[in-house]
Amino acid sequence: MKLNSDTDAVIEFQDLRREFRMGSEVVRALDGVTFTIRRGEYWAVMGTSGSGKSTLLNVLGCLDRPTSGLYRLAGHDVSDLDDDELSELRSRALGFIFQSFHLIPQLTVLENIEVPLLYRGDDFPGGHDRAIALAERVGLGHRLKHRPSELSGGQQQRVAIARALMNDPAVLLADEATGNLDSATAKEILALFDSLNSEGKTIVLVTHDREVGRRAEKILHLKDGRVVEIENVRAAAAG
């Protein structure tokens, strides 16, 4: 692992661009984005629709490659990696939580949580027990054998969170994780994020909702693919 100027940095973006070519037109979904997220921080990404939030999260999650600029994840320059290495990085360093949960319908709760084990590339002897422990942690210890279709939205999202935690990633990435949930259920999920963050997990959460954004430490405001402001919520609250 390379030594950085900032050894606490988990995610570094420098002048990062992502362009989509639509015929003759070029859409700059990310247009020179620079920021650094440190270990254990809780970030929210906000902006109007089409401002580039999802694009940013996809690049962050190594699902998409930037057109130019530097992205360093846990010290690795991601642009150097091939498809297999990116997959490896997703498997080990990143946990995804999606707006519509994206559980695999034919698998049970427990099996869904265990999916990331399949792709680790090594043996994880305690894996099964860890999956059960995680299910209990998100409050679904009694639903292990159920199918996703037999669960409520909130429960499904809890399963997705347990799945994201399976390989103990450095960073959790959530795109509108509470967007499909009613406000009471959303609060429970956000409380879960809070407690995960307090245990040291780095979290990046995309949201439309100002109230949701305020639970984070910092809010990255995007507009037309550019960073307008990095708002320091806790400093503001303290001040």
Binding site: N58, G61, L63, D64, D83, D84, S87, E88, R90, S91, R92, F96, F98, H102, I104, P105, Q106, L107, V115, P116, L118, Y119, R120, G121, D122, D123, R163, N167
Partner: protein, 422 residues
């Protein structure tokens, strides 16, 4: 780790297939019919080939068969009653062949008789062959009990006979035929032996309605029944004078069969201007039978291959639909760290599970079909142990070949787009 994940992938594949039971079953049907037709056709082909070769082998591949044939111009006049037709092979031919053709090791004369054979009230109309002791060795037929005709029987023209298995079965259903007495025509003969029944034979024309065979010493037969055979038909009495109905010539080596057959034709031509004989060369038949068999097998194989191809295309079609249907799942798995080869593996396992289960059922059906064919027709079938394995191997191969493209397509999906797919 590989073992665990392979088992996991396998279970997952089965589970995904079970999600759409009807679809999986229909897809499997394609492979099932392909594989079962491969097995069944191989079995029928092998049976036919075995039967043809067995038939010819029993005639003896180093044998040349000479048979008396009624010349066609005599056939026309045969309606005239009371006329004795004289044609066919003679004792002189027998000596001539043996003397002029050094490659011929042995010759066996055969006279056919038409007589009823009785034991008390039981009666059959068998093929009665009057021949020499060497008949047994030259034809390679097998004794089931007692002995065959011996030199002494012939020299002394004793009244003994040997029964084929079928004849013994009918004449002596409850007793040991050995030392039994049978009545042939108006004479009594002692049974000295029985033969194992022939599974197949190229019978001389007009003998197919005869049950079993009875063997007599040649000299005995001539002593009691003379040279003239008489067939009584409605409206006519047909008498023939044929010295020998058949001559078996055994040649020393396989290589000399063809030239000897040719030479035999030459020798006989001079003395039989009416061509009242035919020359049958089992070896030629064998070679022709093998050639026919080969073509038969190629055609059968092509048909089976096409049905497998159709099955394979069915699998590919379904897997392509499955990949489209599960695009989002593929995106999720990629996000969770699946490499391209994991995705390929997952879909390939599914197609192989599909095609291999189709293959296993196909093998069962493929074994059942020949059994039924054997039951309902008189075709012989042989399921060699290699056929099911071959068919299974082919079905797995079909799964891999036709699963590869859909699996590759799944793996090449862009993860972001796959996740966004509805």
């Amino acid at each position: 780790m590989l073992g665990i994940s392979l088992l996991g992938t396998f279970k997952l594949g089965v589970r995904s297939l079970l999600q759409h039971k009807l679809r999986a079953a229909l897809t499997m049907l394609g492979v099932l019919f392909g594989v079962s037709s491969v097995v069944a056709m191989l079995a029928i082909g092998e049976g036919a080939s075995f039967e043809a070769q067995e038939q010819i082998r029993q005639l003896g591949s180093t044998n040349i068969i000479l048979r008396s044939v009624k010349p066609s111009d005599d056939r026309r006049s045969s309606n005239q009653s009371q006329r004795v037709t004289n044609y066919g092979l003679t004792d002189d031919d027998l000596d001539r062949i043996l003397e002029t053709l050094p490659s011929v090791k042995r010759v066996v004369p055969i006279r056919d008789l038409r007589q009823e054979v009785r034991v008390q009230h039981r009666m059959i109309n068998p093929r009665i062959l009057a021949t020499l002791p060497s008949y047994l060795e030259v034809t390679g037929r097998i004794l089931s009990s007692g002995r065959f005709l011996c030199e002494q029987d012939h020299m002394e023209a004793t009244n003994v006979c040997v029964l084929s298995g079928e004849a013994a079965q009918v004449l002596f259903p409850f007793d040991d035929p050995l030392a039994g007495i049978v009545k042939i025509g108006s004479e009594y003969f002692r049974v000295v032996g029985t033969l194992v029944p022939r599974t197949t034979t190229i019978a001389p024309t007009g003998t197919s309605d005869l049950v079993g065979e009875v063997f007599l010493p040649l000299r005995t037969a001539r002593r009691w029944f003379g040279q003239i055979t008489t067939k009584i038909r409605p409206g006519s009495r047909e008498s023939e004078l044929v010295e020998l109905h058949e001559i078996l010539a055994q040649v020393g080596t396989l290589d000399s069969v063809e030239p000897t057959a040719e030479a035999t034709r030459e020798v006989l031509k001079r003395f039989h201007p009416k061509s009242d004989y035919e020359v049958i060369v089992p070896l030629e038949l064998l070679i022709r039978a093998r050639e026919t068999q080969r073509i038969f097998n190629i055609v059968l194989g092509a048909i089976a291959g096409i049905s497998l191809l159709v099955g394979g295309i069915g699998i590919m079609n379904v897997m392509l639909a499955t990949v489209t249907e599960r695009t989002k799942e593929i995106g999720v798995r990629r996000a969770l760290g699946a490499k391209k080869r994991h995705i390929i593996g997952q879909f390939l396992v599914e197609t192989v599970v599909l095609s291999a289960s189709g293959g296993i059922l196909g093998v069962l059906l493929g074994i059942l079909i020949p059994t039924l064919v054997e039951e309902w027709t008189d075709l012989k079938t042989i399921v060699a142990p290699t056929f099911p394995m071959l068919a299974l191997g082919i079905s797995v191969l079909v799964g891999v070949v036709f699963g590869l493209y859909p699996a590759w397509k799944a793996a090449e999906l862009n993860p972001v787009e796959a996740l966004r797919h509805e």
